[in-house]
Protein backbone atom coordinates (compact mmCIF):
# COMPACT_ATOMS: atom_id res chain seq x y z
CA UNK A 1 0.00 0.00 0.00
CA UNK A 2 1.35 3.40 -0.96
CA UNK A 3 1.32 6.58 1.09
CA UNK A 4 -1.35 8.01 -1.24
CA UNK A 5 -3.70 5.10 -0.45
CA UNK A 6 -3.32 5.62 3.30
CA UNK A 7 -3.80 9.37 3.22
CA UNK A 8 -7.23 11.05 3.24
CA UNK A 9 -9.13 10.48 -0.04
CA UNK A 10 -10.48 13.42 -2.08
CA UNK A 11 -13.89 14.76 -1.05
CA UNK A 12 -15.85 13.40 -4.03
CA UNK A 13 -14.79 9.78 -3.32
CA UNK A 14 -15.51 9.98 0.41
CA UNK A 15 -18.21 7.71 1.82
CA UNK A 16 -19.93 7.44 5.17
CA UNK A 17 -18.44 4.40 6.98
CA UNK A 18 -21.23 1.81 7.27
CA UNK A 19 -24.93 2.61 6.99
CA UNK A 20 -25.88 6.26 7.64
CA UNK A 21 -28.72 5.06 9.92
CA UNK A 22 -26.12 3.74 12.36
CA UNK A 23 -24.60 7.24 12.58
CA UNK A 24 -28.00 8.67 13.56
CA UNK A 25 -28.10 6.02 16.29
CA UNK A 26 -24.53 6.90 17.42
CA UNK A 27 -25.33 10.61 17.71
CA UNK A 28 -28.68 9.93 19.40
CA UNK A 29 -27.13 7.52 21.94
CA UNK A 30 -24.32 9.92 22.75
CA UNK A 31 -26.94 12.65 23.30
CA UNK A 32 -28.88 10.43 25.73
CA UNK A 33 -25.72 9.48 27.63
CA UNK A 34 -24.57 13.11 27.72
CA UNK A 35 -27.82 14.04 29.46
CA UNK A 36 -27.11 11.38 32.13
CA UNK A 37 -23.54 12.69 32.48
CA UNK A 38 -24.72 16.29 32.86
CA UNK A 39 -27.19 15.40 35.63
CA UNK A 40 -24.48 13.36 37.40
CA UNK A 41 -21.93 16.23 37.22
CA UNK A 42 -24.49 18.83 38.32
CA UNK A 43 -25.38 16.92 41.50
CA UNK A 44 -21.83 15.76 42.09
CA UNK A 45 -20.60 19.39 42.12
CA UNK A 46 -23.13 20.18 44.85
CA UNK A 47 -22.18 17.27 47.12
CA UNK A 48 -18.46 16.89 46.44
CA UNK A 49 -17.42 15.48 49.82
CA UNK A 50 -19.98 12.64 49.76
CA UNK A 51 -19.16 11.74 46.13
CA UNK A 52 -15.38 11.80 46.83
CA UNK A 53 -15.77 9.51 49.85
CA UNK A 54 -17.79 7.00 47.82
CA UNK A 55 -15.53 7.32 44.76
CA UNK A 56 -12.43 6.51 46.86
CA UNK A 57 -13.79 2.95 47.21
CA UNK A 58 -13.37 2.34 43.46
CA UNK A 59 -10.08 0.89 42.22
CA UNK A 60 -8.64 3.26 39.60
CA UNK A 61 -6.18 0.77 38.10
CA UNK A 62 -9.02 -1.70 37.51
CA UNK A 63 -10.89 1.00 35.58
CA UNK A 64 -7.70 1.71 33.60
CA UNK A 65 -7.31 -2.00 32.73
CA UNK A 66 -10.99 -2.20 31.70
CA UNK A 67 -10.56 0.85 29.46
CA UNK A 68 -7.42 -0.53 27.79
CA UNK A 69 -9.15 -3.91 27.24
CA UNK A 70 -12.09 -2.17 25.53
CA UNK A 71 -9.73 0.04 23.47
CA UNK A 72 -7.96 -3.15 22.36
CA UNK A 73 -11.28 -4.62 21.26
CA UNK A 74 -11.93 -1.44 19.23
CA UNK A 75 -8.49 -1.77 17.65
CA UNK A 76 -9.34 -5.39 16.70
CA UNK A 77 -12.64 -4.47 15.02
CA UNK A 78 -10.92 -1.59 13.17
CA UNK A 79 -8.39 -4.13 11.82
CA UNK A 80 -11.29 -6.45 10.94
CA UNK A 81 -12.88 -3.74 8.76
CA UNK A 82 -9.57 -3.10 7.00
CA UNK A 83 -8.85 -6.79 6.38
CA UNK A 84 -12.38 -7.33 5.05
CA UNK A 85 -11.97 -4.34 2.72
CA UNK A 86 -8.81 -5.95 1.33
CA UNK A 87 -10.51 -9.31 0.79
CA UNK A 88 -8.67 -11.09 3.62
CA UNK A 89 -11.86 -12.51 5.10
CA UNK A 90 -10.29 -15.25 7.25
CA UNK A 91 -8.05 -12.70 9.00
CA UNK A 92 -11.02 -10.33 9.31
CA UNK A 93 -13.07 -13.09 10.95
CA UNK A 94 -10.22 -13.82 13.37
CA UNK A 95 -10.09 -10.11 14.30
CA UNK A 96 -13.88 -10.11 14.86
CA UNK A 97 -13.50 -13.10 17.21
CA UNK A 98 -10.68 -11.25 19.01
CA UNK A 99 -13.01 -8.25 19.42
CA UNK A 100 -15.64 -10.44 21.07
CA UNK A 101 -12.92 -12.05 23.22
CA UNK A 102 -11.75 -8.70 24.58
CA UNK A 103 -15.40 -7.79 25.13
CA UNK A 104 -15.81 -10.93 27.27
CA UNK A 105 -12.69 -9.98 29.30
CA UNK A 106 -14.23 -6.52 29.90
CA UNK A 107 -17.51 -8.15 30.94
CA UNK A 108 -15.73 -10.44 33.44
CA UNK A 109 -13.72 -7.54 34.89
CA UNK A 110 -16.88 -5.47 35.28
CA UNK A 111 -18.75 -8.28 37.05
CA UNK A 112 -15.74 -8.88 39.34
CA UNK A 113 -15.76 -5.15 40.18
CA UNK A 114 -19.50 -5.17 40.91
CA UNK A 115 -19.18 -8.25 43.17
CA UNK A 116 -16.28 -6.59 45.02
CA UNK A 117 -18.29 -3.39 45.57
CA UNK A 118 -21.36 -5.33 46.77
CA UNK A 119 -19.13 -7.26 49.23
CA UNK A 120 -17.88 -3.88 50.51
CA UNK A 121 -21.51 -2.96 51.16
CA UNK A 122 -21.84 -0.58 48.20
CA UNK A 123 -25.10 -1.26 46.38
CA UNK A 124 -27.54 0.70 44.22
CA UNK A 125 -29.11 2.17 47.35
CA UNK A 126 -25.82 3.13 49.07
CA UNK A 127 -26.01 6.80 48.17
CA UNK A 128 -26.04 8.97 45.06
CA UNK A 129 -22.57 8.10 43.76
CA UNK A 130 -23.15 4.34 43.75
CA UNK A 131 -26.61 4.84 42.29
CA UNK A 132 -24.98 6.60 39.31
CA UNK A 133 -22.12 4.06 39.28
CA UNK A 134 -24.40 1.03 39.00
CA UNK A 135 -26.83 2.76 36.64
CA UNK A 136 -24.19 4.01 34.18
CA UNK A 137 -22.07 0.84 34.21
CA UNK A 138 -25.16 -1.39 33.89
CA UNK A 139 -26.69 0.54 30.99
CA UNK A 140 -23.27 0.47 29.31
CA UNK A 141 -23.05 -3.27 29.88
CA UNK A 142 -26.45 -3.72 28.16
CA UNK A 143 -24.94 -1.92 25.13
CA UNK A 144 -21.93 -4.28 25.34
CA UNK A 145 -24.22 -7.34 25.33
CA UNK A 146 -26.00 -5.97 22.22
CA UNK A 147 -22.46 -5.48 20.82
CA UNK A 148 -21.82 -9.24 21.05
CA UNK A 149 -24.86 -9.83 18.82
CA UNK A 150 -23.61 -7.15 16.42
CA UNK A 151 -20.11 -8.70 16.23
CA UNK A 152 -21.82 -12.07 15.70
CA UNK A 153 -23.59 -10.56 12.67
CA UNK A 154 -20.20 -9.38 11.33
CA UNK A 155 -18.72 -12.88 11.82
CA UNK A 156 -21.76 -14.40 10.07
CA UNK A 157 -21.30 -11.97 7.17
CA UNK A 158 -17.61 -12.77 6.83
CA UNK A 159 -18.14 -16.55 6.97
CA UNK A 160 -19.71 -17.02 3.56
CA UNK A 161 -18.79 -15.46 0.14
CA UNK A 162 -22.53 -15.10 -0.62
CA UNK A 163 -23.14 -12.80 2.36
CA UNK A 164 -20.06 -10.60 2.50
CA UNK A 165 -21.20 -6.99 2.73
CA UNK A 166 -18.48 -4.47 3.53
CA UNK A 167 -21.12 -1.88 4.45
CA UNK A 168 -22.63 -4.19 7.06
CA UNK A 169 -19.21 -5.04 8.54
CA UNK A 170 -18.49 -1.30 8.84
CA UNK A 171 -21.91 -0.73 10.44
CA UNK A 172 -21.20 -3.42 13.04
CA UNK A 173 -17.78 -1.87 13.76
CA UNK A 174 -19.34 1.60 14.16
CA UNK A 175 -21.67 0.22 16.84
CA UNK A 176 -18.80 -1.49 18.69
CA UNK A 177 -16.69 1.70 18.67
CA UNK A 178 -19.69 3.55 20.15
CA UNK A 179 -19.71 1.13 23.09
CA UNK A 180 -15.99 1.88 23.46
CA UNK A 181 -16.18 5.69 23.41
CA UNK A 182 -19.16 5.73 25.78
CA UNK A 183 -17.03 3.75 28.25
CA UNK A 184 -14.15 6.23 27.78
CA UNK A 185 -16.49 8.98 29.02
CA UNK A 186 -18.00 6.87 31.84
CA UNK A 187 -14.51 5.93 33.05
CA UNK A 188 -13.43 9.59 33.27
CA UNK A 189 -16.66 10.56 35.06
CA UNK A 190 -16.75 7.79 37.65
CA UNK A 191 -13.06 7.16 38.37
CA UNK A 192 -11.18 10.40 37.72
CA UNK A 193 -13.25 13.60 38.05
CA UNK A 194 -12.96 15.33 41.40
Amino acid sequence: MTVAEVSTPPCRTRQVPGQPDMWFFVLFESLIFTSYFCVYLYYRAQHEAAYLAAQSQLTLWLGVVETIVLLTSSWSIARCVEQSRNGRYDVARRDAFLTAGFGVIFLILKVVEWVRQIHLGNTFSSGDFFQYYFFLTAIHLVHLLIGFVVVGVAIHQLSSPRRRSQELVETCATYWHTVDFLWVLIFALLYVVR
Binding site: M1, V3, V6, T8, P9, C11, R14, Q15, V16, P17, W23, L27, S30, T34, F37, C38, V39, L41, Y42, Y43, R44, A45, Q46, H47, E48, A49, L52, Q55, S56, L60, W61, V64, T67, I68, L71, T72, S74, W75, I77, A78, R79, V81, E82, N86, E170, A173, T174, H177, D180, F181, V184, L185, F187, A188, L189, Y191, V192, V193, R194
Partner: protein, 97 residues
Protein backbone atom coordinates in the same frame (compact mmCIF):
# COMPACT_ATOMS: atom_id res chain seq x y z
CA UNK B 1 -1.82 -2.61 4.30
CA UNK B 2 1.12 -2.89 6.68
CA UNK B 3 1.31 0.89 6.84
CA UNK B 4 -2.37 1.11 7.77
CA UNK B 5 -1.96 -1.58 10.44
CA UNK B 6 0.91 0.42 11.93
CA UNK B 7 -1.33 3.48 11.97
CA UNK B 8 -4.06 1.60 13.86
CA UNK B 9 -1.45 0.29 16.31
CA UNK B 10 -0.18 3.86 16.86
CA UNK B 11 -3.76 5.07 17.49
CA UNK B 12 -4.32 2.30 20.05
CA UNK B 13 -0.98 3.15 21.75
CA UNK B 14 -1.89 6.86 21.99
CA UNK B 15 -5.36 6.07 23.40
CA UNK B 16 -3.86 3.68 25.97
CA UNK B 17 -1.18 6.22 26.92
CA UNK B 18 -3.83 8.91 27.54
CA UNK B 19 -5.70 6.39 29.73
CA UNK B 20 -2.55 5.79 31.80
CA UNK B 21 -2.10 9.58 32.19
CA UNK B 22 -5.31 9.47 34.29
CA UNK B 23 -3.38 7.54 36.99
CA UNK B 24 -0.82 10.35 37.16
CA UNK B 25 -3.59 12.97 37.31
CA UNK B 26 -5.29 11.02 40.10
CA UNK B 27 -2.06 10.78 42.15
CA UNK B 28 -1.12 14.42 41.63
CA UNK B 29 -4.62 15.53 42.74
CA UNK B 30 -4.27 13.78 46.11
CA UNK B 31 -2.80 15.53 49.15
CA UNK B 32 -1.01 12.92 51.30
CA UNK B 33 -3.33 10.18 50.03
CA UNK B 34 -6.53 12.15 50.68
CA UNK B 35 -8.80 12.98 47.73
CA UNK B 36 -9.83 16.61 47.31
CA UNK B 37 -12.41 18.18 45.04
CA UNK B 38 -10.79 19.99 42.14
CA UNK B 39 -12.49 21.72 39.24
CA UNK B 40 -9.14 21.78 37.37
CA UNK B 41 -8.82 17.97 37.59
CA UNK B 42 -12.46 17.55 36.54
CA UNK B 43 -12.14 19.82 33.51
CA UNK B 44 -8.82 18.22 32.43
CA UNK B 45 -10.30 14.71 32.83
CA UNK B 46 -13.34 15.65 30.70
CA UNK B 47 -11.22 17.32 28.02
CA UNK B 48 -8.87 14.32 27.82
CA UNK B 49 -11.92 12.05 27.45
CA UNK B 50 -13.20 14.30 24.63
CA UNK B 51 -9.79 14.05 22.89
CA UNK B 52 -9.96 10.25 23.16
CA UNK B 53 -13.51 10.17 21.75
CA UNK B 54 -12.40 12.34 18.82
CA UNK B 55 -9.42 10.06 18.10
CA UNK B 56 -11.71 6.98 18.22
CA UNK B 57 -14.16 8.64 15.81
CA UNK B 58 -11.54 9.99 13.41
CA UNK B 59 -9.30 6.93 13.27
CA UNK B 60 -11.13 3.78 14.38
CA UNK B 61 -14.55 4.85 13.05
CA UNK B 62 -12.90 6.21 9.89
CA UNK B 63 -14.54 9.63 10.06
CA UNK B 64 -11.33 11.12 8.62
CA UNK B 65 -12.25 9.42 5.32
CA UNK B 66 -15.95 10.33 5.55
CA UNK B 67 -17.71 13.26 3.84
CA UNK B 68 -16.85 16.66 5.29
CA UNK B 69 -20.38 16.98 6.70
CA UNK B 70 -19.88 13.94 8.98
CA UNK B 71 -16.41 15.22 10.01
CA UNK B 72 -17.85 18.60 11.00
CA UNK B 73 -20.95 17.08 12.60
CA UNK B 74 -18.98 14.68 14.83
CA UNK B 75 -16.54 17.44 15.83
CA UNK B 76 -19.45 19.73 16.72
CA UNK B 77 -21.11 16.88 18.63
CA UNK B 78 -17.99 16.21 20.73
CA UNK B 79 -17.52 19.93 21.39
CA UNK B 80 -21.19 20.26 22.39
CA UNK B 81 -21.06 17.21 24.69
CA UNK B 82 -17.90 18.51 26.40
CA UNK B 83 -19.27 22.04 26.77
CA UNK B 84 -22.53 20.71 28.24
CA UNK B 85 -20.75 18.47 30.77
CA UNK B 86 -18.31 21.18 31.89
CA UNK B 87 -21.13 23.73 31.95
CA UNK B 88 -23.40 21.58 34.14
CA UNK B 89 -20.48 20.79 36.47
CA UNK B 90 -19.61 24.50 36.88
CA UNK B 91 -23.31 25.38 37.30
CA UNK B 92 -23.57 22.78 40.08
CA UNK B 93 -20.56 24.31 41.82
CA UNK B 94 -22.00 27.79 41.47
CA UNK B 95 -25.32 26.67 42.99
CA UNK B 96 -23.50 24.95 45.87
CA UNK B 97 -21.55 28.07 46.91
Amino acid sequence: MRRLNRRLLAVWAVLSAITVIYIWIDHSADHHGTAHASSAVTVIALLLAAVKVRIIMREFMEVRNAPILLCRLTDAWIAGMSAAMIGFYLAGRAVAT
